[in-house]
């Protein structure tokens, strides 16, 4: 499937509108899926299902949003993701933008990484 960046964004926007019941203008590239668009844990599964259908792709359980690193004490200390943990997160989610999180790798800040733009990059990598 060959789609332009704009076409990918429009389809992702539509998926998020339907899955989260938000308005089109709320789904901006920088909007975070959890904080800004109000997604709860089960919504990530819904988003995954809808993306699979919209782009005819298969998404593994933790391929797009992987927080399993956070449950491993080796990667989290005193509420912060360790350097090793950060390397693991980057390895598991290369489609995410990590520079801001690196500056303050609090576990609570991880949700800021899950943006609309991250979803678009993930989809683009899958359909490439």
């Amino acid at each position: 499937m060959s789609l332009s960046d704009e076409e990918v964004f429009e389809k992702v926007q539509e998926v998020l509108e339907e899955a989260l019941g938000v308005d089109e203008d709320e789904v901006t590239p920088t909007a975070t899926i959890g904080e800004d668009l109000g997604a709860e844990s089960i919504d990530y599964l819904d988003i995954s299902f809808r993306l699979e259908k919209a782009f005819d792709i298969k998404i593994g359980e933790t391929e797009m949003f992987d927080q399993s690193v956070l449950s491993d004490p080796q990667y989290v200390q005193d509420g912060k993701v360790t350097g090793e943990g950060l390397a693991k997160l980057k390895e598991k989610m290369p489609h995410a933008e990590w520079s801001a999180f690196e500056e303050d790798p609090q576990v609570d800040n991880l949700g800021d990484v899950f943006t609309v733009d991250m979803v678009c990059k993930f989809v683009k990598a899958k359909i490439a």
């Binding site: 339907e18 899955a19 089960i42 919504d43 599964l45 819904d46 995954s48 299902f49 809808r50 699979e52 259908k53 359980e61 399993s68 449950s71």
Partner: protein
């Protein structure tokens, strides 16, 4: 599913579609004094219209099936469809009601609610389902069913999605009463 809210399964096509019915009876306490029916509901009980207006002398209240319990009926229909897809090995729980749009038609005593659920997505994590709920009138069996609602629902296979949490080994979702429903409906 700890309680049964369906009377009969009419069709069960593996991983495709399930059709189930629920008869509405005046003998159920939940129908009475629960919701005021609208002025659009005829004395005959099969007219329908916008619900929610307060009853008065001119527009007395009628017992109707609450929409929340219509959603429960659909959830059980779509949940059975999802469970049956994997031979009831997964513990299937309702995860999300993506959409539930009601037409305003009232399910009054003496009518039959028909749920038709279809799977739109199924994998090891769960399912997405969509479907329609319709009202049948035994007094006019040749009439077209009246649309009650359109509903989208997601189901989760909890053993696959709870990130390490463990649940009892036995399938507490599909209890004997659900398996009995399938048997007496002739679909299991």
């Amino acid at each position: 599913m700890r309680w049964l809210w369906l009377d009969r399964i009419l069709e069960l096509d593996k991983a495709q579609r399930c059709v189930a019915i629920r008869n509405v009876t005046a003998a159920e306490d939940v129908l009475h004094d629960h919701f005021a029916a609208s002025k659009a509901v005829n004395a005959g009980g099969f007219s329908g219209g916008p619900t929610g207006c307060a009853p008065d002398a001119e527009h007395p209240a009628y017992p109707v099936m609450p929409n929340s319990l219509i959603i429960e009926g659909f959830a059980q229909t779509a949940g059975i469809l999802t469970g049956h897809a994997n031979d009831f090995k997964e513990k299937v729980i309702l995860a999300k009601i993506g959409r539930a749009v009601f037409t305003g038609v009232c399910a009054t005593p003496g009518t039959t609610i028909r749920h038709t659920a279809e799977i739109t997505h199924l994998d090891e994590r769960g399912s997405s389902t969509t479907g329609v709920v319709e009202l049948l009138d035994p007094a006019d069996p040749s009439a077209d069913p009246k649309p009650l609602a359109t509903i989208d629902m997601m189901f989760s296979h909890i053993d696959q999605n709870m990130q390490g949490l463990e649940f009892p080994e036995e399938n507490f979702v599909f209890t004997d009463q659900f398996m009995d429903l399938l048997k007496r409906s002739g679909v299991q």
